[in-house]
């Protein structure tokens, strides 16, 4: 019951939704659109579950870890302020405290955290890009040519534009197409295994 019921639901829902794709009738479209709409509804609860998990973990830290207590309180208080500030739907508009906190706290911090990657990518390029083998040389040469596009060098830049366009639309295209097709085949195989109940890791233990 604990496993066979979910497996049965996956099989039934999977088969019905697969075949409705090939049966364009009003009835099948009705099932299709309401099944999808219900998923969004379930998703709302799942997302809220994620937020509750964050609160639980942060509360646990605030109670039991003296080194993390201050930071846990910062997280909980800022979250509380956001919830109170955004309680009224009108506060979703620009100019409210809710949106000011988004614009002047969330945006700069998140953007700056990711901007640190610029330093790491520069350091990684310096250390990793060495022409040790044919493969490494190909990688280095292509990356070099693509990066050179950002530097205006007159006639060389004009030639380089053509070379970059060719790299992106011929060898890069072939390589990425192979990956897309590989991923597509993998997705199909995994989907079939899930629907048939062969792949059941998503159910977890017990």
């Amino acid at each position: 019951m604990k496993k066979s019921l979910p497996l049965g639901i996956v099989f039934f829902a999977g088969v019905v939704m697969f075949f409705q794709h090939f049966i364009p009738t009003d009835q099948s479209e009705f099932i299709y659109k309401y099944a999808n709409d219900w998923l969004i509804c379930i998703g709302v609860y799942a997302m809220l579950l994620g937020i509750w998990s964050l609160i639980r973990v942060t509360l646990h830290k605030a109670r039991h870890d003296p080194n993390e207590r201050f930071y846990a309180i910062v997280t909980l208080v800022s979250m509380g302020i956001m919830i109170v500030a955004g309680w009224d739907v009108d506060n979703l508009r620009a100019g409210s405290l809710f949106m000011n906190m988004f614009n002047y706290i969330l945006i700069p911090v998140q953007a700056t955290i990711f901007s640190l990657l610029a330093f790491y990518v520069a350091s990684a390029a310096y250390r990793a890009f060495r022409a040790r083998t044919v493969l490494a040389t190909l990688l280095l040469f292509t990356a070099f040519v693509v990066m050179l596009r950002m530097i205006p060098l007159g006639y060389i830049s004009e030639l380089n534009q053509y070379l970059v366009a060719w790299i992106l639309s011929v060898p890069n295209l072939a390589a990425k197409r192979a990956i897309i097709m590989g991923v597509g085949l993998g997705m199909m195989a995994t989907s079939i295994k899930i629907i048939l109940g062969i792949e059941r890791q998503y159910l977890g233990g017990d």
């Binding site: 969004i40 997302m47 979703l92 988004f102 998140q110 310096y126 060495r130 950002m150 197409r177």
Partner: protein, 280 residues
Amino acid sequence: MAKQENLFDKMMSIDRRVIYLLLGLAVIVPAIFPFDVPVATTPEVESVFHFVDSLGTGDYLFLGVDYDPSTMAELHPMTKAILSQCFSQDVKVIITALSQNGPGMVESIINEIADQYGAKNHIDYCFLGYKPYPGIVVLNMGVNFKLTFPNDYYGASLDTIPVMQGIKNYTECAGVIDVCAGNIADMWIQFGNGRYGVPLALGVTGVMASDYYPYLQSGQIFGLMPGMKGAAEYESLSGYKTTGIRSMAYQTSTHVIILAFIIISNIGWFLSRKEEKKIG
């Protein structure tokens, strides 16, 4: 001899703090001594521009703003340029934001750009907002907007919004442009274009850009704006210049530094290998 070997080793093992410092200086120098960099346009960006340019009064464009603050540096300029072009041509725009912080991204620019062109919410554009599970949302919007978004982002019923009258789903729009960081672009390709055949163009981050050229050649997308360079190209085509073109000088100075480091490390490596061979 030993002195030379040391020099080669040093060329290959520059301290990371030196790299950070020089990269930092490379972004500060253009801020103090600004200079212009020519922006050559590419066919993939031109096709997006010409598509929007061909739209006129009464046409609808669907714009997906599916990115967070972490990638707004690359994608915000594209969104701004497209919105300004649409509003200047009286094109109606329907907007969604399917990433977690996407609605905040839209809200931070929409009023400013709309005000510049006198565009009105609910008359010239409609911001539908956010719903979880982007793949499912894309599928359902291909049937009917109202099914997934009975109300817009501000809580107004779609039945009462003038711009949403007479349009049922995005296949009735001239096309979809998804400005995106992450796999929502794949969902638009698979579900939006794959299932419903809607003409689709993408604005993506530099990290993602090379992955989407196969879709461009197969015709699943008709245009592609790759990262900040794509944004700068679009800005130069549309004439609505913000941070895209402005940042090109900074791109040049930082790329010079990174390429210089790569050259130094490779010269060091070649010369040290040559020395090793000489010594035997």
